[in-house]
């Protein structure tokens, strides 16, 4: 015990940071990302405005590193370490919460692969400046579209289930009833993020603007 005492806080803090980083900043970023990309369902012009706004954030590389890349890298790498430390027994005990535990890990892996590819294609190949036309062009390819849908489903599930996990692990939802309530909240988050995300990529694939009604039809 005395031996462990010196490094004990470190491991506690790292675990807590992994858990927290899933909600803020990563979960919050996912919300922002889906929000700003929803402009793809409004109009190309609006979408390009919003993206160029984001692409011109001052101190962009520093802001992104601090708010996104480092937390995401830490959450993922430490997440893999947590995954490795656990030994799943889902085949012997296929309970719902045990499935959630297992799926939390696999969806994390899928999200990781997706994000890496997403960054490579949109950021590296696009040199950090992509427009509606570029993204639409990219998503006309059915394979690209499929992988986007898989990535969005994985990330949405992971965040939704993460909300529930977070509430339990930070002592927010203690009673069984409140844990169930947070389970429902997580499900709502997961389903809405997945639906919004899929609507965006399908909208881009077909070049459709279902939310553009008030802009174009509104007397302009």
């Amino acid at each position: 015990m005395a031996v462990a005492a010196s490094n004990s806080r470190t491991s506690y803090i790292l675990d807590k940071l992994q858990s927290l980083s899933g909600i803020v900043p990563i979960g919050a970023f996912l919300a922002e990302h889906i929000w700003s990309n929803s402009y793809a369902l409004v109009s190309p012009a609006k979408y390009n405005d919003v993206s160029s706004e984001l692409q011109q954030v001052p101190w962009r590389i520093f802001v992104e590193t601090a708010v996104l890349w480092l937390p995401l890298l830490f959450h993922s790498l430490y997440g893999f370490y947590i995954w490795w430390k656990g030994k799943s027994n889902i085949t012997a005990h296929p309970w719902m919460s045990n499935w959630m535990y297992t799926l939390q890990r696999w969806t994390g892996l899928i999200a990781f692969v997706f994000i890496a590819w997403h960054l490579y294609t949109q950021r590296y190949e696009g040199h950090g400046v992509t427009s509606y036309a570029d993204v639409q062009q990219f998503l006309t390819n059915p394979w690209n579209l499929t992988f986007y849908i898989i990535g969005l489903l994985a990330a949405s599930f992971h965040l939704g289930n993460g909300v529930w996990n977070f509430a339990c692990k930070w002592g927010i939802a203690v009673s069984v009833r409140s844990q169930r309530a947070f389970g429902l909240l997580g499900a709502a988050v997961g389903v809405s993020f997945a639906l919004a995300g899929i609507a965006i990529v399908i909208g881009l694939h077909y070049g459709a603007f279902p939310l553009g009604g008030y802009v174009t039809g509104g007397g302009q």
């Binding site: 491991s11 656990g86 005990h93």
Partner: protein, 260 residues
Amino acid sequence: MADKTFIVKIKRQQRPDEAVRWEEFELRWRPHMNVIICLRDIAERPFTREGKESSAVSYEANCLEEVCGACAMVINGKPRQACTALVDDLEKPIRLEPLTKFPLIRDLQVDRSKMFDDLKRTKCWIPIDGTYDIGPGPRMAPEKQEEAYPLSRCITCGNCLEICPKVNADDQFVGAAIVSQVRLFNMHPTGAMHSAARLDALMGPGGIEDCDNAQNCVKICPKGIPLTESLASVNGQVLRHAIKSFFTAPKTIGSAAPEG
């Protein structure tokens, strides 16, 4: 009339380093048998189904009424108490295996000392002994007693550790039982005086942060203890304690205020 019989398959190992062997025993059915009776029958007549002479199976049992915790084993794939596993309720052949998360001693007998060591390490008792009479402790409201009672039913069987993905050789998570006992003793008005020490002991490798919420423990606990509430409650207590001890310095010398 021929006796009704059934088969019990047992995973056996003379020593931890010896190769595993499965043995099958054919036992005579009687009403109200439990798994302990099966093991006693085998001890009386240690011949396998094929008629080969074997030996009595090593296992632990004591109370025979699910209060001592000793007889935990894996029965038909689920960790549970052998004394309350009724033969008539079990699918046949009945498969018996030792718990896998504790060091094996022999056959179905394992060494559950890890749990007792962890109970000591986390100070799961109420210190009342001293060099002089410290007088009566504070009274507990009946509602508090009712909240504490279910937690006090833990029999340290270890089933909740066996079922937990985070208790294994790579992750020495203390397990739900210990966390729940910390909650119990922190709830007690006298026990609360040592809550900081208990919460400190649950921070760090193997501590509360290793719980990843698979929530298997609560489904397997033979005593129906609300383990997921205990885990969430203690998670919050440790967090508040960590924040408080990082940011604040002692302000008063008074009775130790309950943490969390």
